[in-house]
Amino acid sequence: MNSRTLLWLVPCLIVWAVLPFVVPRYMADLLVFTGIYTVAGLGIGLLLGHCGIVNLAQATFYGLGAYASAYCTVMMGLPSIVGFIAGAAISMALAYVIGRPILRLTGYFLALGTLALSAIASALFFEWDWLTGGTLGIGGIPKLDLFGFLLDRPSRYYFFVWIVAFACMAVAHNLVDSRTGLMLRSMRDSSTAAAALSIDLQTLRTKVFVVCALFGSLAGSLFAHHASFVSTQSFTVDRSISFLLIPVIGGATSIPGIVVGALFVTFLPELLSKLGDIHQILFGLALVAVVVLMPDGLVGAFGRLRTRLARRGNSNG
């Protein structure tokens, strides 16, 4: 870490630490959601940016995490950590079992295969009401209790969620920077060449899919403890789509991009909703505009702008 990184990292951290105390409560709430969505979006970003896989099934794992937490704490009266672990274990096992065959598909087929998976899961969440409470949902999920410190306000929960998010970012960063990351990139850019270098594509893709599911499940558990109430409406195909938008809008290959994407997905609908019911249309159009005009996402577009400005500065000077 050189001094230039510190130069922008320190102010960012200060803003991050002060933010929940200065903004109104509803915004602190949105910031908590930004953290939760960052965790969920990180996994999709890994798949999209480093494996070229469009995952439209994240709401499935998000739902599994949330229901595991809800069921373990409310129905069985177990400590919340059990819910986190159970959700993660179930999600990773499912991702492995389903990932193995489904990741043999490529391109559109894979994207729509995962979309079908999400549709199946959302139908099952609805049907298995003995487990999920169906549309009535499960209420009264306790707030998290960290060694006697109750995280019952958005401003408190904010720090917990974001520390989890930073930990996930560190995991993602290490994964990308490691030997695995290099293998992933070679696989994305030329799968034939990678296979010729004896990289087991199938195992590698499954591995990243499992990591993605783990992040999804963690985000789901965090969501359950924040909202105190989970029901089928939160885990539909629409949610899978909005999770996919996080890396798409922010930029799939950059980790800060995921945060930008998560901010976009949580704050933009809220800001637009001041304009009345028309906000959903505007959100859809904003997405179209990003896809058409900025194929590398907001962070990519910003990077290009900076390069262009730097080049102009050089030619003038």
Partner: protein, 295 residues
């Protein structure tokens, strides 16, 4: 399980299957002509059906004219999307995924527009051929379902004739098989792609209009139809619009057999599981290589 129940399920399966087939045929026509998976294919159905509803009830058009209006609306939206978005992105050689995301964004915008401008209520159209029913061995079939099946088969045959007999259809096929080759023989490849979207919009709208007397159309219908249409297209081999017709029928029948065999609430679960399994085991579709040649 009685015979009449099975018969009833078969009729329901064929009826739904034809609707999936029409949506799937549109999706597959667009994929064939532009290599774009259109995730807003179901929205074409919603646009077609909603326009017909509004022309009929608000503008007071006669039913036949309203149906024509709905179909034209679907075709126009298809043309608009190609000219306004796909053409620009194709010029910048955007990736497969970008096109998918584009159409997802358009689907979100359109479904939100329907919610905003029309409201969240479902709307029904009057059934073609009146309210009457036909009773075969205690199984009840609405006259409308018979019309739907007839029109669906007619549209499939017309599509086949269009691709094989008309100059435009042959040019579209040529442009999709070899764009450079087609361009050297004087075919306007970009325009053919526009026509492809017009065709996709038309077929989607037709599917939507035909299903609306059976299921009310609302802003949420699009996504489900897109998924079913995609399943139909994949079953048929994706690049073959006529294969999608076979795929749609298969899907409809599998679904209705699942309803009598398991439970109606697992209909979608079965349909989408079949989709995933077929994609993995039979990537060429259920017709195999033979299906690729046709259409």
């Amino acid at each position: 399980m009685t015979l009449s129940l099975v018969l009833q399920a078969l009729f329901a399966g064929v009826t739904n299957g034809i609707v999936y087939a029409l949506v799937g045929m549109g999706l597959s026509a667009i994929f064939k002509g532009s290599r774009v998976i259109n995730a807003m294919q179901g929205e074409f159905a919603v646009i077609g059906a909603m326009t017909t509803v509004l022309l009929l009830t608000k503008a007071g058009w006669p039913y036949a004219a309203a149906i024509a209006g709905g179909a034209v609306a679907g075709a126009l939206v298809g043309a608009f999307i190609e000219v306004a978005f796909v053409r620009y992105m194709a010029k910048k050689s955007a990736s497969e995924d970008s096109f998918l995301l584009l159409t997802i964004g358009l689907a979100l915008s359109l479904s939100a527009s329907i919610l905003y401008f029309v409201g969240r209520d479902g709307h029904l159209l009057p059934p073609l051929g009146g309210e009457g029913v036909l009773i075969v061995m205690d199984a009840v079939i609405q006259f409308h379902a018979l019309w739907l099946i007839a029109i669906g088969i007619g549209a499939t045959l017309a599509l086949r004739a269009f691709y094989h007999r008309t100059t435009i259809g042959l040019s579209m096929m040529a442009a999709s098989i070899d764009a450079d080759g087609a361009a050297t023989t004087g075919i306007n490849v970009a325009r053919m792609r526009t026509f492809t979207f017009v065709l996709g919009g038309l077929l989607g709208a037709l599917g939507g209009i035909l299903v609306t007397p059976l299921i009310g159309v609302d802003y949420q219908l699009g996504l489900n139809l897109t998924l079913k249409g995609f399943a139909a297209a994949v079953l048929g081999g994706l690049t073959n619009p006529l294969g999608a017709a076979v795929g749609g029928l298969t899907l409809g029948l599998v679904e209705s057999l699942a309803i009598i065999g398991i439970s109606s609430s697992y209909k979608d679960v079965v349909a989408f599981s079949v989709l995933i399994v077929i994609m993995i085991l039979m990537p060429q579709g259920i017709l195999g290589r033979a299906g690729r040649r046709g259409g």
